[in-house]
Symmetry: C2
């Protein structure tokens, strides 16, 4: 067994394990500086839901590409209806019909009208549509009982989109209606930001594969199912390896292989991230690249590390499951979203709400506090969960969300109005 | 061409097209009454992210399944450290080590200690862990410079989850951390609500396949890319057919085939939903089953219909793209979410905000108003978009979200504090 000594660049046996902890803000800024957005690729627009646009969209042609009826009725020349009303109808001769996708091919002359359905092209020689409910039909004779103005009930060419308009900007996360509009523009391919491939390496001798029954001295991997889902949520493609034993030579060669794989865009190493005898990840990262931060003033994710091997970002997440979730939320989330061109902010829905009980923290440390939302004396209120350890994952499943105590506060008094980030999936 | 006559059961040529419009609330209640939640199926828990639990989860065994160290240090009998401090250490003999996944197999006697790493099993005969930073090591002699109480720095069996606890309820939408906990419980299979398969049938003679370039009198299908994404968002599996011409015999046989397919859980017919000459969907639905509602007091989705063929819900959505989105948001969304066991409320994030300009509506009709969020004199404010027609889809791509004017109001005055439902994808 190797108990770490004073020679270790990071571990200080006289202190609390870390020589000096980074603030959350400092590590988040480092991530922004060292993690670049992915390049672009083409994708079928029909697969574009939730992808991030890598181009702006400028219309090349009008939508709709032709004048069309906005009502069912009769297309005619508006000025011939002037003066018509219920008691003094004007009579037109119906000379044909225009149906959606099936235009009337002739030219409409004075005294003539064409039956037209919504969406059908407006015939040449007409400039308005009289709705069917203001007409009376006898064979080919149409009594029009209303006056209409030119352009009435016509959807003009380009009424939805005129050519040359910038419709969407680079960086937009595509919504359902965006795909609809791109379809109308005839854009079957678009340029989007590539999805980052995130290696998730789970380490620990005591870790069994996920979903296996725990044995006498081992426990199933609880973190990879969580990290895989989180990476997917944030637009990444997880590449899972593990669980791997804490054997430094093996870990070092796996990490080196991942860092040299051009298809891997970031490496998340979970477990062995602290300063104990089995915590090899920090020194491996330091020897293969740069360990930029080790130890963060964040409860419960203090044993978090971040660095680079070449240009590949490497995040060290603590093995305790709540710490792992917290480290992902503060740093992993940001790395994946920065790579994939998304807003780095949390995707959790947020609510403003009053705190039902005080929350204590200490100056110089940020706290990630799991909470429940319950009905209190003033409607919905926030109740901090009295769950101790970083290992109590069931606390995060009982929780409705979390609040954050910033590092310049010693906590929040009861009654504080604050933001709750909700775990709920809408 | 067939201009509808008085004989049609629905169309009234003297009125505004619909004999009588349903309120939004009435149709939503009908949907809740006629659309049942899907049955359950087993799924691999690792694929369970965002699935809806069809069972409750009760723990059968403790997590962790053994007492383990919460710190790196030395396991020993706490009462032997009483009175120890920096100046008067107690000396122990290190007789071995306990590592994660690799327990110490002997029994620890008086004066003995075992080196232990975080996560490793607590050896028999010990009841506390002294952190390494309060010790000094000389070969196998350990000076302990702190007193610890029994249980100190030990994660007890079941500290995360005790057996027999109800951890999750039926109906829960599974989150990343839930999968982590299910992994810890060794549950590799769970029972979830089946995903509903939603047939999306696009009709219209003027409709080209999605993403094709519009031609002289035709326009690409803008609605199916939108509806497919929306159905996926709400947990359904879209099954797309179209575009199909407005030929009543063909439509009728396609609809009948879909309604008789046991794998189809709901049918969404888009286009031909109104009262015009090419609007065949309502009468086909009425003849094959029940047309329960035709026409809704909702702008811009008035030509919406709903009914049943056998027990299959059938929703008729208007062809105009904004109307289609609006009808989906109010009714389609509810059908898919009700089938898939989800909360029927909108999944759009919501914000409370002040209205920058008044919005007018009419009594007896609900309005779906697209809005932008911009900085106004009092911070972020809501600006209604001055977009007219139901056909202006680009308005919904310019919009940040929408507000709703209920049917018992004539609008909202400037300055009203109201809820904005955000289209943004977080």
């Amino acid at each position: 067994m190797s108990i770490p000594s004073d020679k270790s660049p990071i571990y200080d046996p006289r202190g609390k394990g870390f020589r000096c902890r980074s603030t959350v803000a400092n590590l988040q800024a480092l991530i922004m500086n060292h993690v670049a957005q992915m390049s672009s690729e083409n994708c079928d627009t029909r697969d574009g839901f939730r992808r991030v646009l890598a181009q702006s969209i400028i219309s090349e042609k009008p939508i709709p590409p032709f004048d069309r009826a906005a009502m069912d009725g009769f297309a005619l020349k508006a000025n011939e209806t002037f003066g018509s009303d219920y008691y003094t109808p004007t009579i037109f001769t119906m000379i044909g019909q225009s149906r959606p996708g099936l235009a009337f091919s002739g030219i409409v002359k004075t005294g003539e009208a064409v039956a037209i359905a919504t969406g059908a092209p407006i015939p040449d020689g007409t400039d308005a549509v009289v709705p069917v409910e203001f007409t009376e039909i006898n064979d080919d004779q149409i009594k029009v009982r209303e006056s209409v103005t030119p352009g009435r009930h016509i959807g003009k060419t380009g009424e939805d989109v005129m050519p040359g308009i910038q419709l969407m900007n680079e960086g937009r996360v595509l919504r359902p209606q965006d795909l609809g509009l791109l379809s109308g523009l005839g854009l079957s391919q678009i340029s989007v930001i590539k999805k980052p491939k995130i290696a998730i390496l789970i380490t620990g001798n005591e870790i069994l594969p996920a979903f296996e029954s725990g044995s006498e001295h081992k426990i199933a991997d609880m973190n990879s199912p969580m990290l895989i889902s989180l990476v997917e949520r944030d637009g990444g493609v997880p590449f899972f390896i593990g669980p791997v034993w804490d054997i430094p030579e093996i870990l070092a060669s796996m990490i080196s292989e991942l860092a040299n794989d051009p298809k891997i865009d970031a490496i998340f190493i979970n477990g062995g991230s602290s300063t104990g005898p089995e915590d090899y990840a920090p020194s491996i990262l330091a020897s293969q690249g740069q360990l930029l931060v080790h130890g963060v003033a964040l409860r419960p994710a203090s044993p978090t590390g971040f660095g680079l091997i070449g240009s590949t970002p490497v995040l060290l997440l603590p093995g305790n499951p709540v710490s792992c979730l917290c480290a992902y939320d503060f740093f992993g989330c940001r790395i994946v979203r920065q790579l994939s061109g998304r807003n780095p902010e949390w995707p959790y829905p947020k609510k403003q709400m009053q705190l039902a009980q005080k929350v204590s923290s200490v100056l110089g440390r940020m706290d990630y506090v799991r909470v429940q939302i319950r009905n209190g004396p003033n409607g919905e209120m926030v109740y901090p969960l009295a769950v101790g350890g970083a290992s109590i994952l069931s606390g995060t499943t009982r929780a409705d969300g979390f609040i954050v105590v910033p590092d310049d506060l010693e906590g929040y008094p009861e009654g504080t109005e604050l933001t709750v980030w909700c775990y709920d999936i809408p």
